[in-house]
Amino acid sequence: MPCHYTSEHDATEERSKLIHLSYRTRYIILDEADRLLGSDFLPQVEPIVKACTHPLLQKACLSATMEAGPEALAKTWLRDEGVRIVVGLK
């Protein structure tokens, strides 16, 4: 997807930098997730989420609207597909 590494070495180096920033991060929240998971932001958002490597990382996606495509993608990031909470939709 968005990360194109030119070689194995680059990939490793890249990963070590990512982990340095975020290996202690336990919580990540994507607010206005429909936009963050859209094509404009996904190339940046995906590496950020992937950089948070803590095994007990807890994730929350929130949005006023959510289309099927972005939601399906988000589900692959959420542990056990996450709990889906819908308010005020008929």
Partner: protein, 181 residues
């Protein structure tokens, strides 16, 4: 509410999940006119504070109290500001890993929204030693420095980082970041 069983319980009141030992969150909520827990907030807090640490996908209209729905459980989960861990270290107790580094990240699509959410965070943190930062040009260096530890001195850490994708991605992938621990 849907998802794999067992589904978490929703909270009905702030008393169900805000720590009784520490009044500051409640005080700050009252000060800013928040007296009741709304439906979405009870449901989201219930899931995030569930013993199984459930991830959530929340779809709720603007104005339904989404922001507080994640901020409150986040602060309950973080427990104490990282600054208190820093103090502990100075008195000889090493902070645990969960009390250092960038402990939580809130990502928003635009700077304007990030600013708005950071203001909400500041309101909740009022009078407390929480270390929250909004990632922008002027704070970038301070944020990088907060993740660096020097010999005999742990990284200062950040409790809550509010950021837009471009800047945060730039930070996690740029050479500006030190590689040592």
């Amino acid at each position: 509410l849907s998802g794999p069983e067992p589904l978490p319980k929703s909270f009905k009141t702030f008393d169900d999940f805000l720590p009784t030992s520490d009044e500051f969150l409640r005080k700050n909520l009252r000060k800013h006119g928040v007296h009741h827990l709304w439906g979405v907030q009870g449901a989201v807090a219930g899931a995030l504070l569930d013993e199984h640490k459930r991830d959530v996908m929340v779809i709720a209209p603007t104005g339904s109290g989404k922001t507080l729905s994640y901020l409150l459980p986040l602060m309950v989960r973080l427990g104490k500001p990282c600054r208190s861990a820093f103090k502990l270290f100075k008195s000889g107790d090493a902070p645990t890993a969960g009390e250092q580094g960038i402990r939580s990240i809130i990502v928003l699509p635009t700077h304007e929204l990030a600013l708005q959410i950071h203001n909400e965070v500041l309101k909740l943190c009022e009078g407390h030693a929480w270390r929250t930062m909004l990632l922008e040009k002027s704070t970038e260096k301070a944020i990088i420095d907060s993740t660096k530890s020097e010999e005999g001195k742990p990284a200062l850490g950040i409790d809550i980082l509010v950021a837009t994708p471009e800047r945060l991605h730039h930070l996690v992938s740029s050479n500006a970041l030190p590689l040592h621990e």
